[in-house]
Symmetry: C2
Subunit: 145 residues, 2 copies
DNA sequence: AGTATATGTTTGTATTATACAAGTAAATCT
DNA sequence: AGATTTACTTGTATAATACAAACATATACT
């Protein structure tokens, strides 16, 4: 079953698998130079965007087991970036929200990341950046099962 | 230091981190339905593209420790997808190459992956796919330290 | 040639992220 | 009020990884 755009799709497959490997490596290196780990960054970012969240919702967002999120959240809480409070309408539920420190960390880290993207994409035209962002967004839509 | 294309870059940063999380998850799910793990897939693909390779070179390619590659390669060898042979010019070096079975596995897996990309990108135009592939390739260039 | 040093790989050990299962606490249903 | 469900935590096992030590082979120096 040969597709008309076989080559383009093969290239996308190739480049995306490569990109993921490199990006994951970059995250690991980042950790060593003081950036937040990706998991922490994503969790803080989610709380910032979506407001207080419970573990179950976070686990679904990140496609991870609740027990994993439970430990992640506890660790991030211990660092003082988030706090936990009881849902007034349901005593079983722990809700998590950003602390001021967490918000500062998030902003700092986000800016460092964006700064790096600026540097990496220095020689791209505005239009190219816009198109890339748009296509990435569509790719992300497509990646949802 | 406000950049003229701040928004586009922020969007790229956002979408890329999201994409990585989703893609990593997809890889884990894939493993469960019979696909090769990403690490195995990448190693087989590299051997196919670059010919017989030594551990040190593989470790550098994937930004992993040599000891990690040593174990990965042994595991893949045990499955029969690659074989090891001595470099005739240097008795210390083990070179790895694909077996016939490994090549078959690689082709099958690659086709499954590409098939899925075809399905995911079904409603993209040819031009969009081409542009996305090209920009991904440039992004990958940019990601090299 | 013989010893010291460098290189390539393997193996031992510790850490981390993860899932699954069992346990605990709180809410809901009857 | 007791049974069931839901939300979370904790115990345990596994896998991927890095770092360090060990081992084998090659190269360099004298």
């Amino acid at each position: 079953m040969q597709k008309e755009n076989q080559e383009a799709v093969e290239r996308i497959e190739y480049e995306l698998t490569t990109l993921i490997r490199r990006a994951v490596y970059l995250d690991i290196s980042d950790k060593k130079i003081g950036h937040l780990e990706r998991s922490v960054y994503l969790l803080l970012r989610h709380l910032d965007e979506c407001g207080p969240s419970r573990l179950k919702a976070l686990a679904e967002t990140f496609n991870l087991d609740i027990s994993t999120l439970s430990r992640q959240a506890s660790a991030i809480e211990a660092k003082g970036y988030i706090t936990r409070f009881s849902d007034p309408t349901d005593g079983r539920v722990s809700l998590f929200k950003l602390t001021d420190i967490g918000m500062e960390k998030l902003i700092t880290d986000k800016n460092m990341r964006i700064e790096r993207y600026h540097a990496m994409l220095d020689n791209w035209s505005n239009t190219e950046k816009e198109i890339f962002g748009e296509l990435l967004e569509r790719m992300n839509e497509a990646l949802i099962d």
